[in-house]
């Protein structure tokens, strides 16, 4: 996962990563019969190394943005930035927040968030700005609307159904008891 998440490029050469998995570290006996095998293993290892190096070329070589891994000087501002970054979804490693992800794009988004906070913008404004670009999906705290209504109201609905079923059962149980008496 870390391999695909460390770059924001769209799923490049996944087969290459799988193809690069070669069992290493097995000692090859020096029996002449195995020499061919040893050479083959060496060639395979070389090929695997080549594959990995070409994959590492597939990531950008720029250093992270200044605020990707550096906190703001003002602790109050940093706290606000941190809270917002934990609520924003990484666009590359979806399922992680940008606070958790090491993808370059997540670093750049942290830089964006911290720079905007430092410039005096409120977390709400920054969230609105991002939602206008990526939709509610970019936030882990989506608003209550038609799409999320069932998620919020569903449990209440199920509780009501359960309550109704239980109520019916108890009442019937009670009346059965009366009949028996």
């Amino acid at each position: 996962m870390s391999k695909t998440c460390s770059t924001s490029s769209r799923s490049p050469a996944k087969a290459g990563v799988q193809g690069g998995k070669v069992r290493r570290g097995r000692k090859v006996a020096l029996d002449p019969r195995f020499r061919g095998g040893a050479w083959l293993l060496a060639a395979l290892l070389l090929a695997a190394t080549g594959m990995f190096s070409s994959l590492s070329l597939a990531q950008d070589r720029l250093p992270p943005a200044p605020y990707a891994y550096q906190q703001l000087k003002d602790p109050a501002q940093e706290a606000r930035a941190k809270a917002l970054m934990e609520e924003l979804r990484c666009l590359v490693c979806q399922g992680q927040s940008i606070a958790d992800s090491d993808a370059p794009l997540a670093g750049d988004m942290r830089h964006e968030v911290r720079s905007k906070i430092a410039a005096g913008e409120s977390p709400g404004e920054i969230k609105t700005w991002l939602v206008a670009r990526y939709g509610n999906w970019v936030s882990y705290d989506p608003p209550f609307d038609a799409a999320t209504a069932f998620l919020w109201l569903g449990p209440l609905l199920f509780l009501a159904i359960g309550g109704w079923l239980a109520f019916g059962r108890f009442r019937r149980g009670a009346s059965d008891g009366e009949d028996a008496a």
Partner: protein, 176 residues
């Protein structure tokens, strides 16, 4: 007990839920995040040249009356290499194309253009993905169709395929 079948309703609901969970496990949801910044003006930016010999890119240059493509790419992006022939074909058909290079070094961009051709009129260097984020773009390659007034009309995520080329030409033609 007249309504004995009612007892099976919870089991049926659980079965349906399980079915839904298994379906989503087997067929994961669409994970491409589409830009919502469509039918909106290009965000304001002024990017320096991404490499020597090719002009940088300003948002004001994208509203010169001619519909065009803005291609978000990177030299380190392997699919972008596969896209190069289609961009060449679009350029050959007279489509103006500008580039935004994401997190790229000038020497790498130069090598990329040298190897895969240069269909770009201008290439801006987006070192910290700030323009990419302002566009609502979440990866490379992505291509935006811009009308003559600098309004973003469409986003294409991923590599432009050969059979999409005539369609893109027609769409840009329709914006004139």
């Amino acid at each position: 007990m007249k309504n004995r079948w009612v007892l099976f309703v919870p089991l049926a609901i659980m079965g349906l839920l399980f079915g839904a969970f298994i379906y989503r496990l087997v067929t994961p949801a669409e994970t491409l995040i589409q830009s919502q910044w469509i039918d909106k003006p290009m965000p304001l930016f002024d990017l320096p040249p991404a490499t020597a010999g090719v002009e940088g890119l300003k948002s004001s240059q994208l509203a010169d009356g001619k519909p065009r493509l803005v291609n978000v790419f990177a030299s380190w992006c392997i699919p972008c290499r596969a896209e190069a022939p289609q961009l060449e074909a679009l350029k050959a058909a007279g489509v103006p194309i500008d580039g935004i290079a994401i997190r790229d070094r000038p020497e790498d961009v130069a090598m990329f253009l040298n190897e895969y051709g240069n269909p770009f009129d201008r290439i801006g260097a987006d070192m910290q993905s700030s323009v990419q984020i302002a566009l609502g773009s979440s990866g490379v390659p992505e291509t935006f169709l811009i009308d003559g007034k600098g309004i973003i009309r469409e986003q294409i995520q991923g590599v432009i395929l050969a059979d999409q080329v005539p369609e893109i030409i027609a769409k840009l033609e329709a914006m004139k």
